[in-house]
Subunit: 148 residues, 2 copies
């Protein structure tokens, strides 16, 4: 009941995001809405192709990125462009800028104790809980304002 017709919605969403409405874009969006889980660009491409066989992977990438920037989609976890490692030190979490990808540590006490309630899939052995506080850093927020 909380799901409005995607089709109608998308025209509206596009307008709000300042994205011209195109057929490809709409099909990609509808396809995404029908993909539960955490699809990769290739998976989206494969599914979209069933409706638009001539579409190119580049178009899928370009639109996924536009959707991400517009907030219509989220990435499961912010990708930093390369592997980032850290030494097993005292417990902490991360502050991540979704725009410039900068990472800072915050003390685990700033989040407080965490606990998983209820059932996890049988046999899953928890190693650690990691919290990402995702947002825009000061520099990126001000850029955003300026750029418009």
């Amino acid at each position: 009941m909380s799901r409005p017709q995607p089709t109608t919605d998308f025209a509206e969403l596009s307008r709000r995001a300042g994205l011209p409405l195109t057929h490809h874009r709409q099909v990609i969006y509808e396809t995404l809405m029908a993909m539960p889980g955490h699809p990769s660009p290739e998976e989206v491409y494969a599914k979209v192709r069933r409706r638009i066989p001539a579409i190119s992977l580049a178009t899928v990438y370009k639109n996924l990125n536009r959707f991400l920037k517009a907030g219509l989609l989220q990435e499961v976890s912010v990708h930093h462009g390369s592997l980032r490692v850290e030494v097993n030190d005292h417990p902490h979490h991360h502050l991540v800028c979704s725009s410039c990808k900068k990472i800072e540590d915050i003390d685990s006490e700033q989040i407080g104790p965490l606990q998983v309630r209820g059932r996890l899939p049988k046999g899953f052995a928890v190693q650690r809980l990691s919290v990402d506080v995702i947002g825009l850093c000061a520099r990126c927020s001000s850029k955003k304002k300026a750029s418009h």
Copy 2:
């Protein structure tokens, strides 16, 4: 005071991890210990090179991966090999297998309400909090036992 001499330690750690002790490995480890933050392989490489100019990037990668597998290091966030997107649905978090990288959703209620206490860097505008419950899924835990 909680920091034992890295040098002595590493011989011990290596043995426990079943990794033959080599000079390169030790230098990489010591370098990492002296790098706060979230270095990328290239950054580690650059720094290690100051002590071992002839070292190759591949060696750094190989050893970072060995350290990760041995648990001497952590990745800041589990990398899934490709971009993963998801639709802005109701609030949830993720269960991530650190070995096979499989992602499952868990309801946000299984973690409970989160709140950031204390100061964040000035101007940081929080968009969302994302919790990853990182561990080994049933399949990977059993493989691990078997493989030894």
